[in-house]
């Protein structure tokens, strides 16, 4: 194991975060805070409770997931896309590093960054709405698994993309709609029966439901299924990355 290489990639990627502090950390926190202010503090007081939870508190896990997914994907995809774009990837390819080490370095840094953002959002939320965390261990597990899985997914997008538009298209056209329709702002039991069934095909539903359970002990779907779904997604991403490195797809000719 080339530990020095993993550390080098990790440190290099994290230093990019510190260098662009406003854009990479302050901006997602500000955006999420605006949601808390508008939906939590302002409109939330006029909304009825959901499953016995005040609306402001109800949306916290979903909003947190929204940021976590978005940040994980964008960090990881940009992290590996940019060296490809600028040509500096030659150095990683010519180095005595295995694909596993490359993935740990890049994905580790992307996941760390989104976890930092997640933590800061949770602290910020405290200023606007009240919440509790009933199952802290499960909450941290969900955070970790989601950050890692979606950073892996972002890494694949970054490898696949060959222009900036492709880099944006999946987060914008797929992830954002899935998250908004994944029950971040509502319980799926509020949907008509037909759409309740349809929405179960949305993987983000399981993430948000499981995550909300770790806060308030209520869930739309079974927690075990939620965990299993993240695991399956993670496995799919790992398989995708393994295939990319094995074939050299978009990395080597």
């Amino acid at each position: 194991m080339n530990i020095y290489a993993i550390r080098a990639i990790y440190v290099f990627e994290m230093s990019r975060t510190w260098r662009t502090l406003m854009e990479s950390i302050a901006s997602p926190i500000l955006t999420t805070s605006l949601y808390f202010i508008v939906f939590g503090a302002a409109i939330g007081s006029r909304m009825g409770d959901i499953d016995g939870i005040s609306y402001g508190s109800f949306i916290i896990p979903g909003l947190l997931m929204l940021s976590l997914l978005g940040e994980s994907i964008s960090n990881a995809s940009f992290g590996i896309y940019f060296p490809k774009f600028s040509g500096t990837i030659y150095e990683v390819l010519s180095a005595p590093v295995s694909p596993v080490e490359v993935v740990i370095g890049y994905v580790g840094a992307a996941a760390s960054k989104s976890l930092i953002i997640g933590g800061l959002i949770l602290i910020t939320a405290r200023f606007f709405v009240d919440y509790q965390i009933m199952h802290p261990v499960m909450m941290v597990s969900f955070l970790l698994l989601t950050a890692i899985s979606f950073s892996l997914f972002g890494f694949i997008i970054g490898l696949w993309a060959d222009d900036f538009q492709k880099l944006q298209i999946i987060p914008m056209m797929v992830i954002t709609p899935l998250t908004f329709l994944g029950g971040a702002f509502y319980s799926i039991s509020m949907l008509p029966p037909f759409w309740q069934k349809v929405t179960l095909f949305n993987p983000v539903v399981y993430l948000i439901s499981g995550f909300r359970w770790s806060f308030y002990g209520v869930a739309d779907v079974n927690v075990g299924i939620s965990l299993a779904m993240i695991m399956v997604f993670m496995l799919l991403c790992l398989t995708g990355i393994w295939w990319i490195f094995k074939t050299g797809y978009r990395l080597k000719n």
Partner: protein, 308 residues
């Protein structure tokens, strides 16, 4: 000669169907400066990229210090430093940060003393905290070299190292490459500048259409293929060559004022004195003469032309 890189029957076809390398066999000797010459698209960069792990090899075997580049890629790649042709560099980082990144990537613990010595050697120490985006093209090129040296490689690949660099800096670069060679580093460089190969290389390989057409010691190559020419500027222009001189490799210029004699430096008897005797015999006087040897560039052009 001990071989540090061994290439056997290496071929590479890109997914586009382009045959970039066609059965390459090549040995790079330990401690030499090897220049790989060839026109654009000849396969120089593909060959380097395969050895360094950037392009997946097709058929054939490549070993670096007896380590197979695929099966034992860690050992093989640890020995190699690569300076790419393009100025591909993380522009927003400082020189020192990017150096430390390179060293770590190649699995070496940090060594500030060594890094400082490399940067000083390349006159970059004063710029160590500067962001790379603020550096000139020549400095960026040197940063790339510094990065390639960050992990103390035994083999250094320089892909067009002096492209876009002014004459003075080019001299400086050549001196640096020689110092590296003297410290035991094997150097493989590709270049368009024949002058560069002529100045630097111990051996020269010519690649064209994915095949190596010549591998030779530079001096041998120049002797073997180098033709010398003697140009005689005549006192009185000639209309045509006298028939008695028909057997000689002589050429008369269009205006009839210059007679050019081509001879082989390798031969014991070049035939110059005999020619001069004959000329005076026929009363052909000349007012000036000078001889010239074909440069590596001429050799190269003739080689590439012959092949195509």
């Amino acid at each position: 000669m001990e071989s540090i890189i061994t290439i056997r029957n290496l071929s590479k076809t890109y997914s586009t169907g382009l045959l970039a390398l066609n059965n390459i066999n090549l040995d790079i000797h330990k401690g030499e400066i090897f220049a790989l010459l060839g026109p654009n698209g000849a396969g120089k960069t593909t060959l380097i990229s395969i050895i360094c792990g950037i392009v997946t090899p097709g058929e054939g075997d490549v070993t670096v210090d007896k380590h197979d580049i695929v099966l034992n890629f860690r050992a093989a790649r640890s020995m190699i430093g690569l300076v790419p042709q393009e100025l591909s560099i993380a522009t927003f980082e400082s020189v020192l940060t990017t150096m430390n990144f390179s060293r770590g990537l190649f699995g070496k613990p940090s060594n500030p003393v060594y890094i400082e010595s490399v940067l000083r050697d390349l006159s970059l120490w004063d710029k160590r905290d500067e962001r790379i985006v603020n550096l000139s093209g020549g400095m960026k090129r040197r940063v790339l070299i510094a990065k390639a040296l960050a992990h103390e490689p035994k083999i250094l690949f320089l892909d067009e190292p002096t492209a876009g660099i002014d004459v003075e800096q080019r001299r400086g670069m050549w001196n640096m490459v020689r110092r590296l060679r003297d410290s035991g580093v094997t150097i493989i460089l590709t270049t368009h500048y024949i002058e560069e190969a002529e100045e630097m290389a111990d051996r020269i390989g010519v690649i064209n259409d994915g095949q190596i057409s010549v591998i030779e010691e530079k001096t041998v190559l120049m002797n073997k293929l180098g033709k010398k020419q003697l140009a005689l500027t005549l006192q009185h222009p000639l209309k045509s060559l006298p028939d008695e001189l028909a057997g000689y490799p002589l050429e008369l210029s269009q205006d009839g004022e210059v007679l050019v004699f081509t001879f082989d430096v390798q031969k014991e008897h070049t035939g110059i004195s005999e020619l001069l005797r004959k000329l005076s015999q026929f009363g052909i006087d000349f007012k000036d003469l000078h001889s010239s040897q074909s440069s590596l560039e001429d050799i190269f052009v003739s080689l590439v032309r012959d092949k195509s």
